[in-house]
Amino acid sequence: MSFESKTPEGPLKDQWTNHKNNINLVNPANKRNIDVIVVGTGLAGGSASATLAELGYNVKSFCYQDSPRRAHSIAAQGGINAAKNYQGDGDSTYRLFYDTIKGGDYRSRESNVYRLAEVSANIIDQCVAQGVPFAREYGGLLDNRSFGGVLVSRTFYAKGQTGQQLLLGAYSAMNRQIARGKIEMFNRHEMLDVVLVDGKARGIIARNLVTGEIEKHSAHAVVIASGGYGNVYFLSTNAMGSNATAAWKTHKRGAYFANPCFTQIHPTCIPRSGEYQSKLTLMSESLRNDGRIWVPKKKEDVAAIRAGKLKPTQISEEDRDYYLERRYPAFGNLVPRDVASRAAKERCDAGYGVNATGEAVYLDFSSAIERYGKEQAQINGEPNASKERVLELGKKVVEAKYGNLFEMYEKIVDQNPYETPMMIYPAVHYTMGGIWVDYNLMTSIPGCYAIGEANFSDHGANRLGASALMQGLADGYFVLPYTIGDYLSNDIRTGKISTDLPEFEAAEKEVRERLEFFVNNKGTHSVDYYHKKLGKIMWDKCGMARNAEGLKEAMQEIKELREDFWKNVSVPGSMDELNPELEKAGRVADFLELGELFARDALEREESCGGHFREEYQTEEGEALRDDQKYTYVAAWEYTGNPMESILHKENLEFKEVELKTRSYK
């Protein structure tokens, strides 16, 4: 197995250009003889499939939904970053690079992040050419908004549906190639294993989710674009089907898994309302452009609110604690996500939470509505507009910006956020950790690549808002399609890979036996029973704050839960039909292993950085305390048969361009 970052030589700003100039290419005639499998059709997989097909490779794409357009990327709301500097506010490739390294708390690879910033501008050009209807200003040019952790406006958006529009763009590019016969699309298929031949990734085993048939698919390279593993917590903002199976199976076959404990807990989500809760809903970070976050200053007000005797709108300005503005005057409500989440937890733990569970803070738009209303009245030539008129005008502006989010909130909570502040609380949202990849996005299995949220590459210990969409599309449109050629140039004479090889037979047999086990087990508990239990352990002991004792307990408890699962899980129905419970069983089985490695990784990292907050390592003011001497590395885990015995490999991170500093947003 190879474990070198393969970062090109030379100055950062020339690395990608030089690398592209030096790597091997496959000529167009030979590409026709080469097959590539792409697992996943989100922004990363969709864009990669389309581009690989366009370059001439034969692509086979897989997703578990009934259409590539339904991949989880569709749900991204707020926007996508790009260093276009259209606002003339001093943005540049360097600044985007720097913000991302700093935002990630100095735990990502400089070379990858610089390349990401470099290609970011191209993404916007590409998407506009595809007909993505980004928001525009009255002059007809593209509009921008701001996201957390930065001081420029570089986020492009399409109302609150940016992910949807970008994914439909990638999907349309895929459709064009499906129509040409260059992409063969496998909807409602789930990859259940990767197949290695002579140490190289040469195919996958997938289950047709409609007929239950187990299929062998071969290729010269396999690309994993299956998204993140946030659902290890059961409750997260991810789609119900989001899972780690493709990534985890790849890990078990030899791909190192990096930084599993780096998880993003997003500060602004709708709080949970009961035990039956099946998932959590995000309220986009873009809302923090205009919303102010607060809790009451006085405990008696908190009590009155919880008892339903007081409304938040009745609390005067002096009695409100705008704690982010208080603690972080420079960035205020737009501090990065990890900082905002911990601050909310701190207030709620101290007893200031504003709903029945004590786990909610306010996100208030009244100041913004008034400010916009006044501005609009000026523009309209109504300087003497009444208060009602100002509010009416202001609400219109806010509606144009965030209308669909407000609507979504009202549907779920049954309260009108134009009239009363939203209630929000942090929730699991994104996983920075993932399959380890080198500069070429190749995993430690030759010929196996990982892109998008499934890899660990660019966000260090904390991802900045609007950067996941950027990374997914950068990987898929502009990076992987070129770096993969370097590897495939050795395969021009290989010819078709046969699925009759013993390696395929063996992998298929393993998959089949596992499925047979599930449907024959006739145990006592449903899959969800185990998933919820796992989620609770993860949230309580590997959540927003962690400590050594809790992590050790978590490892033990997860191990016991896993043993119980393999004895007592109950899966109704059969293997050869559409069987959602069987799908879930396989996914939860993998989460039950991943969770343990997660806890172990968190235990190993005796520092606080980004989303990984160890209670033992904090400053007097409660800020994260990094240990650059000991932990400036990527923790890449090698599977050896049991998560408990995985071997830790360290990729040391070298910072040549950026000086390591304590992250400060004060």
């Binding site: 749900a75 506009v128 050419a129 039956y276 969800d528 559409l578 419970e581």
Partner: protein, 248 residues
């Protein structure tokens, strides 16, 4: 609240299928409709029965997976709402709720409430794109200014989630609202104009080939569309289609 559910059960495409009654108790008004279905399924699993299969993924109204016909209405009683965004506060204690799949000849049932909407895929493949390579070597994004009104209208059309409620609602099982939305999104943008007519012709031809019905302007689709896609998109599609055919 306690409810009686009358649910369409169908083992597979060839099975005839029938309505089966179930009871669920202690349902909270804050639950989403699909969380209520989770409760039912947990109940069925624990009593050794086969749970009800239904499509769902994002559970926040954007992926277009969920597709239930509830009390005779696509996505249920609330307007501008997908099945997954429907909450139990729209129902009352003691209610009987009918739950069926989205029905149309072009959407055959796979199992229970899950239908095959791949006809929509093939329509998109017939022309739902702008023929531009993904090389990134395009002109600068701000090179073509686009009037905000046009961009906003294109965006409104582009918010279609491809759920198929319009088809399930229409007495003719027409897919015009879905196809009209896609054609409009591109027709409204200068990048999409170049191929606008060809696109309209090809997508409409595919729509007909899939066995969707004709549009007789009843407008039920617009009412039931969870994303408020406007009928004006159908009119625009017809214009594009007519011009394309006149030039033939």
């Amino acid at each position: 609240m306690n409810l009686t559910l009358k649910i369409w059960r169908q083992k597979g495409p060839k099975d005839k299928g029938k309505i089966v009654d179930y009871k669920v108790n202690d349902i909270s008004e804050h639950m989403s409709f699909l969380e209520m279905m989770d409760v039912l399924n947990e109940q069925l699993i624990n009593s050794g029965e086969d749970p009800v299969a239904f499509d769902h993924d994002c559970r926040e109204g954007i992926c277009g997976s969920c597709s239930m016909f509830i009390n005779g209405r696509a996505h249920g009683p609330a307007e501008g709402t997908t099945t997954c965004q429907l909450h139990m506060r729209s129902f009352s204690d003691g209610d009987t709720i009918y739950i069926e799949p989205f029905r149309a000849n072009a959407f055959p049932v796979i199992k229970d409430l899950v239908v095959d909407r791949s006809a929509f895929e093939r329509i998109q493949q017939a022309g739902g794109y702008i023929s531009v390579n993904t090389s990134g070597n395009t002109q600068d994004a701000n090179a073509i200014p686009i009037p905000k009104e046009d961009a906003d209208m294109a965006m409104d059309a582009a918010t279609c989630i491809g759920c198929g409620a319009c088809v399930a609602t229409c007495k003719n099982a027409s897919a015009m609202l879905f196809v009209g939305a896609k054609i409009s999104q591109y027709a409204l943008l200068p990048q999409g104009r170049v191929e606008a007519e060809k696109r309209a012709k090809n997508m409409v031809a595919q729509m007909d080939a899939e066995g969707f019905g004709n549009c007789t302007n009843t407008g039920a689709c617009e009412v039931e569309c969870p994303k408020g896609i406007s009928l004006s998109n159908i009119a625009r599609m017809n214009r594009e289609f007519l011009t394309a055919n006149l030039k033939k």
